[in-house]
């Protein structure tokens, strides 16, 4: 029930933010430039100048095919160019947690003889985990995103486990106190997004923090939930009566997937994102605070007539403001979507309470 309004809220925010930016900045740059901007943002600080070199070169290439060809090669370079630094360790850790979850899932399938039908759930979980590993690999390479994002993920994961009273039984059945839903779904994600904004000094940093926190917490809590099912199987408190043990275990594994790989990252990213934008607005922080290249010197004059230095090229043009730049209709729809989500959360909390 909660998943749909959450997704609607996220989609509404993304669509209206995108359209409002188009109004403010005019036509968007072509796809090769957008992709290359994104990819060069992943380069380590000491390689950032090379990202600017690729962007500067692309600006002088005419023709769609040539631009695509050049951009694709540069994107590959930007994605792989070392050094990755400590990011590599974090990526390996997330891969290890994801593989551990899948291993536990496989052990549950074998131990409880769940049959071929359970492989569908395992495939969905593997797809989620693979996409999370890729997304984490990208998010971790963003400058300044790793530490706040992983710390945020730790806080979110601890909150979800604490809400279950640190017991496997409650983790499986999600027996939460009434206060847990607003805490897990709004307060903690919003705190992560807001603090990430203050840490990184921009709304974009806060949004990246929220995304990485959602991904890392989702992967971690999913491992914990799968471990709980591996330990309890169909045991513990009865959640559904009259079903076979195989059905119950499959059901629990499926619920883990829904709650920890879908809902947790979604609500963390969504509310963290909103809080990041709001915090930047309140604290008068920029939307983006990426470093600009090239530096002021040295410049080389290729043409005798050129004398004055140009403005440094900004990879991602600083957005003038956050919410203030949005059209009125976007703000109305955003507030409406938020109200729907809050009502849905209140309704769900009331049902549980």
């Amino acid at each position: 029930m909660l998943l749909i309004p959450m997704m609607l809220l996220g989609i509404a925010v993304a669509l209206f933010r995108r359209s409002s930016q188009a109004v403010v900045y005019g036509p968007r740059p072509d796809v090769p430039l957008q992709l290359l901007r994104w990819a060069t943002g992943l380069l380590s600080e000491q390689r950032a100048e090379w990202g600017q070199a690729m962007l500067g070169e692309l600006a002088h290439i005419e023709g769609r095919a040539r631009r695509w060809s050049f951009a694709i090669g540069c994107i590959g370079t930007a994605l792989l160019l070392p050094p990755w630094g400590r990011t590599a360790g974090a990526v390996v850790a997330i891969i290890a947690v994801a593989v551990g979850s899948l291993g536990l899932y496989a052990s549950v399938i074998i131990r409880y003889r769940l049959g071929a039908s359970s492989l569908i759930g395992a495939s969905i979980a593997a797809t989620f985990l693979l996409s999370f590993v890729v997304a984490a690999g990208v998010a971790l390479r963003r400058r300044g995103a790793a530490v706040p994002g992983l710390l945020g993920g730790l806080v979110v994961a601890l909150a979800w486990v604490a809400a279950s009273g640190f017991t496997f039984s409650n983790m499986i059945l999600r027996v939460w106190p009434a206060w847990a839903l607003p805490l897990l779904f709004i307060v903690v994600p919003a705190a992560v997004g807001g603090l990430g904004t203050l840490w990184g000094g921009s709304a974009a940093a806060g949004r990246r923090t929220a995304r990485l926190a959602g991904i890392s917490a989702g992967v971690g809590v999913y491992l914990y939930g799968t471990l709980a099912v591996a330990v309890f199987g169909a045991g513990g408190l009865p959640d559904d009566s009259g079903f076979s043990a195989t059905y119950t275990i499959n059901d629990r594994l499926g619920n883990n997937l829904t709650f920890y790989l879908a809902l947790l990252p979604l609500v963390t990213a969504t509310f963290g994102w909103s809080a990041a934008t709001l915090t930047a607005r309140i604290k008068h922080l920029p939307d983006h605070a990426d470093a600009t290249y090239p530096p002021a010197a040295p410049y080389v004059s290729m043409t005798p007539s050129s004398a004055a230095l140009s403005m440094p090229y900004d990879v991602e043009p600083a957005i003038v403001s956050g919410v203030a730049a949005w059209p009125r209709s976007a703000r109305v729809v955003l507030v409406s979507a938020a109200v729907v989500v809050i009502l849905a959360l209140g309704f769900a909390t009331g049902l549980r309470g």
Binding site: R47, E49, W50, Q52, A53, M54, L55, G56, E57, A59, H60, I61, S69, F70, A71, I72, G73, C74, G76, T77, L81, P294, P295, P298, Y299, V300, S301, M302, S306, A308, L309, S310, M311, P312, Y313
Partner: protein, 104 residues
């Protein structure tokens, strides 16, 4: 730790293109076109050469709405390195290298 492996055919072709007129600053795309390398092969080579102190970089100021452009030329160490290359004696062999991902 910096590894000083023998230069690949692609690297040699880039070095030779730069050494043709050592005083001249070159653009990345022009170099790629001249030596027929994809950007995904060229830039790792340029990065490696710059890391080894063989390549000098600078920025050309932007013109109009276009951003500044990165420029490249050999350092004196780079010129000496090219002069010591065996491939210099057979430049035609390195003029059109095959594009291999492993060289990137």
């Amino acid at each position: 730790m910096q590894r000083n492996r023998p230069p690949s055919a692609q690297t040699i072709s880039v070095l030779l293109a730069l050494a043709a007129d050592p005083a001249q600053w070159r653009y990345g795309y022009d170099l790629a076109t001249q030596v027929q390398l994809k950007s995904g092969s060229l830039y790792p080579i340029l990065v490696r050469l710059a890391d080894r102190g063989l390549l000098e970089t600078a920025w050309e100021q932007g013109q109009g709405s276009r951003p500044p452009r990165h420029l490249y030329r050999l350092t004196s160490a780079g010129r000496e390195f090219v002069a010591a290359l065996p491939a210099v004696r057979h430049p035609q062999t390195a003029a059109r290298p095959h594009n291999r991902l492993s060289e990137a």
